[in-house]
Symmetry: C2
Subunit: 238 residues, 2 copies
């Protein structure tokens, strides 16, 4: 069993997960002294499925790193329609961009989609450390740049007008298009979440997946997706 | 008339536009010495309508700041379908996130949509200066954070399933929803570009705009949009 470290809130965190957190692009350039001074003031938050981590518009005083489980980042229209912006998993930072926004409020809601554990870090403490570590600035710049790049792909997927196009684009965005067939990939979220992310009903996603299966382009078993023909998927969207 | 500064390429840039560039979040924290050493190696690029600034996948050795005109940032599928990710105007940086990405390649194409002038800055020179200026690091972090925030809004708009929802969301994203009626706003791009950005045919956008006009929610004259009832638009998307 992992040895445990006790955070100030009294929570036990395995040394192993703290070592993993240490590798995070936002923290990896900190010296040991800086890292442990930050951890001394960090909190461990445990969430049950459906618990909110924060609400859209809340003041962004803390940001989070997922230790375990998944966090859904989403917006709600006043009519209650949900838009999933992202699903964050282990090692992903959540809410960190808000500390650099002019208004410093979270731009969306964050909620656990299964039981999750996150490390909660005080933005002010972190910003102070950033002033002492250029490499950490570059770490967070890299992290935000790759998130921007991902959002460009997301926008590309969402502007596809037919459901088949959107699904094919989404699947291609999960893989390296140059890999030889067959490619096996794990779906990054439940089908319901993926459908919402692709702006379609879950039934539409199921129908499209069935069509792609009938065309012998892919197979789905639970969360595992086997792509038999990357070229075939690409031809679909041409 | 503005007094002129001559850049190393021999181009004239008005002192006024260089002063404006100086205010850019990416550059404003540089000392005068740092700023002018960067400008000494900068280039002025003039583009005609339709000229490429860079292509998706090109190595990102330089980034750009728009001095004049508009730059379309877009992706092309292998079938030739265009997805407009963004339209950049005066003072907007273009391609700057790529220098922080692991692969350092532009993630999309950039093209002038009317005659444009951009300042081209060497990434390596800029990165060196960043190492001397925490405030510039924070400037670019702020700029990337607000772009991420915008992409969250874009994704929210695009996941709206009906054309009316997408248009209403898009219009509401242009204004401060708390402002009293009527609100006048200038459309940020041509109707064709906005339609492409909202993943619909231009005719669909025109039809929706006509419907909203018939409901007395808004009026469009050229690029000027008058919103008669913000609350009415909000009710539409509930």
């Amino acid at each position: 069993m992992d040895s445990m470290i006790i955070l100030p809130g009294g929570a036990n965190v395995s040394y192993h997960s703290l070592e993993k957190v240490r590798q995070n692009a936002l923290l990896s350039a900190l010296t040991d002294g800086q890292f442990y001074s930050l951890m001394k003031k960090a909190k461990l938050i445990e969430l049950d499925d459906g618990d909110h981590l924060f609400m859209q518009g809340d003041e962004a005083k803390r940001f989070f790193i997922v230790l375990q489980g998944s966090i859904k980042f989403f917006r709600l229209t006043s009519g209650g329609k949900e838009t999933v912006i992202n699903v964050f998993g282990e090692q992903d930072p959540v809410g960190e961009a808000a500390m650099f926004m002019a208004e410093k409020h979270y731009p969306a809601n964050a909620m656990a989609i299964k039981s999750a554990a996150v490390l909660s870090i005080c933005c002010q403490d972190y910003l102070q450390l950033l002033h002492q570590s250029y490499e950490s600035c570059f770490g967070i710049l890299g992290s935000m740049a790759s998130r921007l790049k991902r959002s460009i792909s997301d926008i590309e997927v969402l502007t596809q007008q037919s459901a088949v196009h959107r699904v094919a684009h989404f699947i291609l965005s999960l893989i390296d298009e140059k890999s030889p067939d067959p490619v096996v990939v794990r779906l990054p979220a439940t089908k319901q979440l993926i459908a919402s992310r692709l702006a379609m009903q879950p039934e539409t996603l199921s129908r499209v997946m069935r069509e792609l299966k009938e065309k012998e382009l892919l197979d789905v078993q639970g969360r595992n997706l086997t792509i038999h023909s990357v070229a075939g998927l690409k031809r679909l969207i041409q």
